[in-house]
Amino acid sequence: MSSLSELHLDALAEVFSIGAGRAALSLSEIVGDEVRISVPSVQIINSEDINSATLSLNNGRFGAVNQHFRGPFNAEAVLLFTEDQALKIVGDMMGSQMSIDELAEFEHEAMCELGNIILNACLSAMADIFSFTLESSLPDYAVASADEILHRLKENSTQPYIMVLHIDLTIEKRHTAGNLVFLLSSASLDNLVSHLDQFLGNIT
C-alpha cells in the first residue's frame, strides 16, 4: 500500500477530477447555476496519523455521508462537510428563502442526496476508467464531530491506510464555497492499486 507512486496518485487525481466534473454537472442541473468542483489533492495517509488536525478540520459539527461499496475492492467512502456549509449549500440548491434553522428539517435527506451525487460520480468515473463494476449501499447521513467520525471509520477498517481527498465546491453566482473531505477506507486497497497498475501498464 505504501508503494503508491507519483503516477498512481496522478491517475487517481484524474479519476476523481472526472468524477468531480460529473458531480458538478448533476448539481448544476439541480441549482440551475454553474457549479465548480475541483480535487486539489489526493493523499494516502496512515490511519494512525489521521485526525481532525491533520485533515485541517475545525472543532465544529460535521455532516458525514457514507456509502459502503463492493466490487474488485470493498470500501467505505465518507464525505465530510462542515454542518453550516452543508446547510448553506443545500439552502442554495433549494433556492428558497428559508433560514438555516428551517433547513435543518430537510438537512438529512438533502445531504444524503448531495453526498450520493458526489460519491456516485466518483465511483462511476472509477468504474468507467478501470472497467469494473461497483455495487453500493444507499447513503447514510450522520452529524458528529470530525474526530468522532474519523474514530468510527478507523474502527471499521482493518487497513493501515486511508485515502483522503480534499474537494472544493463552489456555486458560481451565489458565491457559496465549501470544502469537502472524501475518505476512502478499504480492506482491499491493494486491489485498487493492481487496477491502477493494469491501467497504467496499458498506456506506458
Binding site: E6, L7, D10, A11, A13, E14, S17, I18, G19, A20, G21, R22, A24, L25, S28, E34, V35, R36, S38, A125, D128, I129, E172, L200, N202, I203, T204
Partner: protein, 125 residues
C-alpha cells in the same frame, strides 16, 4: 499537398492524462509529432518556438484556465486548431468553447473521445 505529419501539443496538468491522450493518438496517427505542456502558461511560451498544428487543452489547471490559454493562443496564432478536453462539461464551458470556435470533448480520454477530437482536427482543413 498537406503533409500527413502533424504537430500536436497536449496541454494537461495530469501526467496520466497526457500519457493517455498521447498513446491513443499515436495508436491512430503514429506519424504525428507530439509535445506536452503541464499548464496554460507553459503552452503559451512553448508555441512561440514550435508552432503546433493541433492542440488538446484541459480546462482546470494550475495558473490560467485552459479556455483562457486557448483564447490567448488563438489570438496570436489563429491557425492552431484547439480541442478542449475537460471533465467539466457544464453549459458555460460548452458555450465558451463554441465562442472560441472549437468543441468541448468530455473526459475520460477514451477511443470515443479521441475520435471526436480527431474529427474536429480534420474538419478544419
Amino acid at each position: 499537398m498537406d503533409s500527413p505529419i502533424k504537430k500536436l501539443l497536449i496541454v494537461d496538468d495530469s501526467k496520466v492524462s497526457r500519457m493517455l491522450i498521447r498513446s491513443h493518438i499515436l495508436a491512430r496517427r503514429p506519424e504525428w509529432i507530439i509535445s506536452e505542456a503541464a499548464c496554460g502558461e507553459e503552452a503559451i511560451a512553448l508555441i512561440d518556438n514550435d508552432l503546433p498544428d493541433y492542440c488538446t487543452m484541459d480546462i482546470n489547471m494550475p495558473g490560467i484556465s485552459g479556455t483562457d490559454a486557448a483564447e490567448r493562443m488563438l489570438s496570436k496564432y489563429p491557425s492552431i486548431k484547439i480541442v478542449i478536453f475537460s471533465a467539466n462539461i457544464q453549459e458555460t464551458h460548452q458555450e465558451r468553447a463554441r465562442l472560441l470556435g472549437t468543441i468541448l470533448v468530455a473526459k475520460p480520454v477514451t477511443e470515443k473521445s479521441i475520435t471526436l477530437a480527431l474529427n474536429c482536427f480534420s474538419d478544419s482543413k
